[in-house]
């Protein structure tokens, strides 16, 4: 703890560094706990700073298909704001990340979120209540292994390290040139295979295990593309189970003024943090 006990005036330019350090440690009143499902434990985090919010908001200019810049920026903010010195945030899973994202929004911006459906329907929901509902379910997401003839694959939720590597290898600096429906189909197909690859950590062929994490993502994609579709279907079900859990957190049932009910999902990008 670098805060000083005696009254002191930091009045010279060369003390800028000290001031910045002091503010970075201005934590006691603004820290918050986040329950991390993969570690079944709570960890302390700092609130977003203005500079971090600016970085997040800048990612609004992101890839139209992937949210690469937002993902990389938020993952780095998790690392910067985690106060547990013995925790390597790179090992946290993408599910943990969604919980941190949600809690960071609650603590740093507001515990409420307003859906602006139209002029008549501006509905405010409680993010705190939603998060409590999910965490009360004692969520735990284990790895699963699927086998088929000579193959077997182990699926796991990607860690932040893996997600960063994936985004850097496959999506960052990617430009799109969609001129026809074929181009669009190709990109969707590519995105689908990429996603599947992210969740497969080990592949066993005829009892010979291959640690896919040792390969770069371009090579991993080439390997996964060769696997039988029946095996991939199991991986897809695993991914869908994870997605359903995330959807539970981000989807709200809104009752409109005319009594109808509308399901709305909060987009997990920088707009979530737009005050």
């Amino acid at each position: 703890m670098l805060l000083l006990n005696n009254l002191m005036s930091l009045e010279t330019n060369n003390q800028l560094k000290n001031v910045l350090t002091l503010i970075e440690n201005l934590d006691s009143s603004t820290n918050f706990n986040v329950y991390i499902p993969s570690l079944q434990k709570e960890f302390k985090f700092k609130q977003l700073t203005t500079e971090q919010l600016k970085r997040l908001l800048k990612t609004i200019i992101d890839s139209p298909i992937y949210s690469t810049e937002f993902i990389l920026t938020f993952n780095s903010i998790i690392r910067e704001n985690c106060l547990a010195q013995d925790l390597d945030t790179g090992v946290l899973t993408v599910l943990d990340k969604h919980i941190i994202l949600f809690k960071m929004r609650i603590e740093s911006i507001s515990p409420e979120y307003t859906f602006e459906i139209d002029d008549q329907n501006k509905i405010t929901v409680s993010l705190t209540k939603k998060l409590s509902e999910l965490l009360n379910k004692q969520i735990k997401f284990d790895c699963e292994t699927f086998s088929n003839d000579d193959y077997s694959v182990t699926c796991n939720l990607p860690s932040l390290n893996i997600e960063n590597k994936f985004e850097e290898d496959l999506h960052q600096n990617t430009t799109f040139n969609i001129n026809s429906s074929k181009d669009l189909r190709d990109i969707i197909g590519e995105t689908f295979v990429n996603e599947v690859t992210k969740f497969i950590t080990t592949l066993t062929i005829k009892n010979t295990p291959i640690d896919l994490t040792a390969y770069d993502f371009k090579s991993r994609v080439k390997i996964i593309e060769k696997l039988p579709i029946s095996l991939i279907n199991n991986v897809i079900k695993y991914i869908e189970k994870y997605r359903a859990l995330v959807q539970l957190l981000f989807t709200f049932e809104l009752t409109m003024k005319d009594g109808s009910v509308l399901q709305q999902e909060i987009t997990q990008d920088s707009s979530f943090f737009n005050t």
Partner: protein, 301 residues
């Protein structure tokens, strides 16, 4: 020896002397033209203020705009009296009489000191200030999306540490404030919006019943503040030169003497000479003047 007076600013009392014609000339020169360069105007005006007040140039530069105008109002009252004559817009050439004390009355009614009182938010004590005129120039040049809140923060105290931003450069202040949690910055921005809204409501003519249709804003727009400086001091450089010429030619004053006069003395001499010349004109019907004297009247400043 010029008359010395006292002016109470938000945090101190200072002393100042009356203006002199040579300084009025400098101010008028800075106000020439349609597109006035605020930086040149302020640079010249600040040099004048340095010469007639106990403030150093650095202290003048760091005066918040309310203190700055409080000083200008006081100098104007001491030098030329509390009544000024001004043309409030270009379409209507009528000159109106304005009491500067009414400006101060309007500003005081907004209780700016209460508005700027420090607040404690999330255990951080935030001290607000108003921007300097130089910073208002920057605010006026910025886009809507640019950050400007650092111009309104004086210092923050958290736990036992005080960070006084007057000792940091603009970029350092921005850097420090950006490290604060978003909730605190959001709170500060809301407060600054309230300050903006309050100043946008100010009409310096609000307490003058016969001018209530007209407006003199007093907000963070540099062009409005330049217009206010014009209203306070006038801007007719040509008439000033003509009068100095006439006083020297017909009144036997030296240019140095006139330039060192206070505006009050100058007006008196002009009126006196005008009256003498009028008397002569009525006794000598053949008298004609082609030396600029026709332009002289008593309400030049």
């Amino acid at each position: 020896m010029k008359f010395i007076n006292k002016c109470t600013l938000s945090d101190r009392e200072i002393f100042y002397k009356e203006l002199q014609i040579k300084y009025i000339k400098t101010i008028y020169k800075s106000l020439i033209g349609e597109d006035i360069d605020p930086e040149i105007l302020l640079s010249n005006l600040n040099n004048v203020l340095k010469k007639i007040s106990t403030l150093s140039l650095q202290e003048i530069n760091s005066l918040n705009f309310l203190d700055y105008f409080t000083l200008l109002f006081n100098i104007c009252i001491t030098s030329t009296g509390n009544i000024i004559f001004a043309q409030l817009n270009n379409e209507d050439n009528t000159t109106v009489e304005i009491n500067i004390y009414k400006f101060l009355e309007v500003i005081n009614s907004y209780k700016i000191n209460t508005l700027l009182e420090p607040e404690i938010f999330n255990n951080i004590k935030i001290y607000y200030t108003l921007p300097t005129l130089q910073n208002i120039v920057k605010i006026s040049q910025k886009d809507r999306n640019d950050t400007i809140y650092h111009y309104f923060i004086n210092k923050i105290i958290f736990q036992d540490t005080e960070i006084n931003f007057s000792f940091f450069s603009e970029s350092e202040t921005k850097l420090i404030l950006e490290k604060l949690p978003v909730k605190i910055t959001t709170h500060i921005i809301k407060k600054i919006n309230t300050i903006f809204d309050t100043f946008n409501k100010i009409n310096l003519l609000a307490n003058i019943p016969y001018l209530k249709e007209k407006t003199i804003p007093f907000n963070f727009n540099i062009n409005n503040l330049i217009d206010l400086i014009k209203i306070l001091f006038g801007e007719d450089l040509l008439t000033l030169y003509e009068n100095i010429f006439a006083l020297c030619k017909l009144g036997n004053f030296t240019p140095e003497y006139i330039e060192n006069c206070t505006p009050g003395e100058y007006i008196l001499y002009v009126k006196k000479l005008d009256s003498i010349m009028n008397k002569q004109q009525t006794t000598d019907t053949n008298f004609t003047s082609d030396e600029g004297f026709d332009h002289i009247n008593g309400d030049l400043l």
